[in-house]
Amino acid sequence: MSIRTVTFDAVIVGGGGAGMRASLQLAQSGFKTALISKVFPTRSHTVSAQGGITCAIASSDPNDDWRWHMYDTVKGSDYIGDQDAVEYMCSVGPEAVFELEHMGLPFSRTEEGRIYQRPFGGQSKNYGEGGQAARTCAAADRTGHALLHTLYQQNVKHNTQFYSEWLAVELVKNAQGQVCGVIALCIETGEVVFFKSKATVFATGGAGRIYASTTNALINTGDGMGMALRAGVPAQDIEMWQFHPTGIYGAGTLVTEGCRGEGGYLINKDGERFMERYAPNAKDLAGRDVVARSMMMEILDGRGCGPNGDHVLLKLDHLGEEVLHSRLPGICELSKTFAHVDPVKAPVPVVPTCHYMMGGIPANIHGQALRLSAGHDGDDQIIDGLFAVGEVACVSVHGANRLGGNSLLDLVVFGRAAGLHIEDALRQGMTQAEPSTDDIDQAMARMRRWNESDKGDSVTDLRKELQQTMQNHFGVFRKGDLMAEGVKKLADLRERIAGAHLTDKSNAFNTARIEALELDNLLEVAEATAIAAEGRTESRGAHSRYDFPDRDDENWLCHSIYDPLTKQLGKRAVNFAPKTVDTFQPKVRTY
């Protein structure tokens, strides 16, 4: 089967913050670049980010220091964030944030005219010794929207070639394991095209839709991670899923940590501010994993709110109408729409909700995707032609738990870094890896399978079952036997999905086909998560086990590496060698 081929120097898959920061860099450099996005870029999930972008720009505190931010991030990661990568992100951060401002991002302002910064969870001054810091740069509570639109505008200005509403279906790699590009499907017409390129950059975001309840957009189906796993690329720390403390009860939509940054706090059914018991110093601004677990403990101990005692309340009314309307206008809107509550008058019902994938494709600070060379504890090996940035990548700056406001920083810093690296590599004569006709044909197999299906279970039913399995077996608290059962259910689901039925075979804007292709990706990410979660026999960051309640630095102060070919879990060393500061040694993590 032969298909049309288009050729580029670089193809970026994903039109969120990371993808558009990378494409902007490359568009400015004049290399032939395409950006493929399954939605029009401003509909990407970055648009939903609310509270802000954390960065030591020294506006709220002139003495702020990126090293303090680095300390917080390493501690927040429960010590499996790579310290060279965290160092890079925190030190380059200010430059990347000022660039965004110069591009026109409408940040909120201080009286001095500088960028407004608010306190967020896990932030400190002076390496945890100087009290709460205010380091999250904000555009009201719509920072992601402001950031995404600004990046889109700059890409328009610099004539980036967009393929909007094209879904990347499969990586094309050759016999040497080099990545040659991607197969993508034009949603509007159904045409399938081979995008051949020297550099393929995955900026495809997370996969929160593997859970039944998530803050994530409906499009967050782990397409990049799914394609990578099918191509034999490993997943790192994929068991690490962040449950955001404040998803609106029932709807799952997010209310920002900035609510607590501005002075809001959580209460149980007795009206008690329970975080004082769990985190006496940071209270409601402890790490997200700590707050989410504390909320679940309250609920499990019978102090939850509502007729079923299955949520807690976020109290904001004491902040006053003026603060709420100027600093948190979007939250007021969302609460009224989805919780039927006006935060000016009453507390908002909230529950920990799946929010962020800390794991992903292992990558270095230039965005180059990595695999381990053959053999146990092998060295890092760069995968030729493949890059990963943003949520789909695991650099790893978030380790076992991401701090609020660090995801937007991650996007722009590493989107930019990958762009700079590729620009440089292209100048030095980066070559195109050539695929054979068979290699391309192989990448079409999945499309064919769905197109030829004539019986089997429905995509919708299978998706719901998968999401419920992940929700029940791999939630905030985990347990060995329950997870083993979950792994079995997923193996069964894999068989049924392989025989599932796509009823609508039409070409024009066929969203049924898109949902079928997404289901394959959800399954890959779900299974990797399940096997990695069962395999990590300790509790660290967001991964919390009843049967292994303690952190085990002797055995697990390392990344987990899930190999999709063998379905085995290996280990990879964490970097403890930052270039310009002393190593932050692992300590007991309290807030």
Binding site: S44, E101, G113, R142, V156, I219, T337, S506, A508
Partner: protein, 238 residues
């Protein structure tokens, strides 16, 4: 309840038609998007766009019982009296005035072209400082109510002037965007921006009908922004 939906598949339909569905909502005040998802569970061929499902991405603008809005933040109780109770049908059509690709998905090329025409990006040729450009909170407040646009096209596709002259009139969304940069103290291209709008159509086709204001799901006011640009153009002329 009864739901009536505009259907058109270019591969099989010679012309669009309305399909009626009976949906059991359990009496719950669901969002229109949730109702569409219930239908799509049974009929996977039903086509519409959606992404964030919380009113910030702008994917699911559609015409709901005659009024443009976002399906994900429009509860049945707000569609029209009697809809939630099942006494009146929910009627969903694509945004008017744009070519239909399939069912509720319209071709938004024209809308995006209008957006690009106003140079929707900050223009400032002064070399940037080592930190951010300073802006007072008062100056920053001038772009509140402007930068929040989500490009859902509810406003432009409700505007009769846009229906008549989509090639020449820029439409409320693009004009709001234009004023977002005119009002930004950091932007230096005021003369150039106004120059591009100073013809009988680009801006002056706005007749102040204000459909844009009444449908904007983010509560923005394009008519007011257009009024400000008019004043700037007039001041420039005298």
């Amino acid at each position: 309840m009864k739901v009536s939906i505009y259907r058109y598949n270019p591969e099989t339909d010679r012309e669009p038609w309305m399909q009626d569905y009976e949906v059991d909502t359990g009496g719950k005040d669901l969002m229109v998007l949730d109702v569409l998802a219930l239908i799509k569970d049974r009929d996977s061929s039903l086509t519409y766009r959606r992404s964030c499902r919380e009113g910030v991405c702008g994917s699911d603008g559609m015409n709901i019982n005659g009024k443009n809005g976002l399906a994900c933040i429009t509860p049945l109780s707000e569609v029209a009296p009697g809809v939630l109770e099942g006494k009146k049908p929910l009627v969903v059509r694509p945004l008017p005035g744009l070519p239909v690709i399939r069912d509720l998905a319209v071709d938004m090329t024209m809308f995006y072209n209008q957006y690009e025409k106003v140079k929707p990006y900050l223009i400032n040729e002064t070399p940037a400082p080592a930190i951010e450009r300073l802006q007072t909170p008062e100056d920053r407040a001038k772009i509140d109510g402007l930068y929040e646009c989500i490009l859902c096209a509810c406003c432009s596709t409700s505007c009769p002037s846009f229906w008549w002259n989509p090639e020449k009139f820029l439409g409320p969304a693009a004009l709001l965007q234009s004023y977002r940069f005119l009002a930004d103290s950091r932007d230096q291209a005021t003369t150039e921006r106004l120059g591009h709008l100073d013809d009988p159509f680009s801006l002056f086709r706005c007749r102040g009908i204000m459909n844009c204001v009444s449908v904007c799901p983010k509560g923005l006011n394009p008519t007011k922004a257009i009024g400000h640009i008019r004043s700037m153009l007039l001041e420039r002329a005298v």
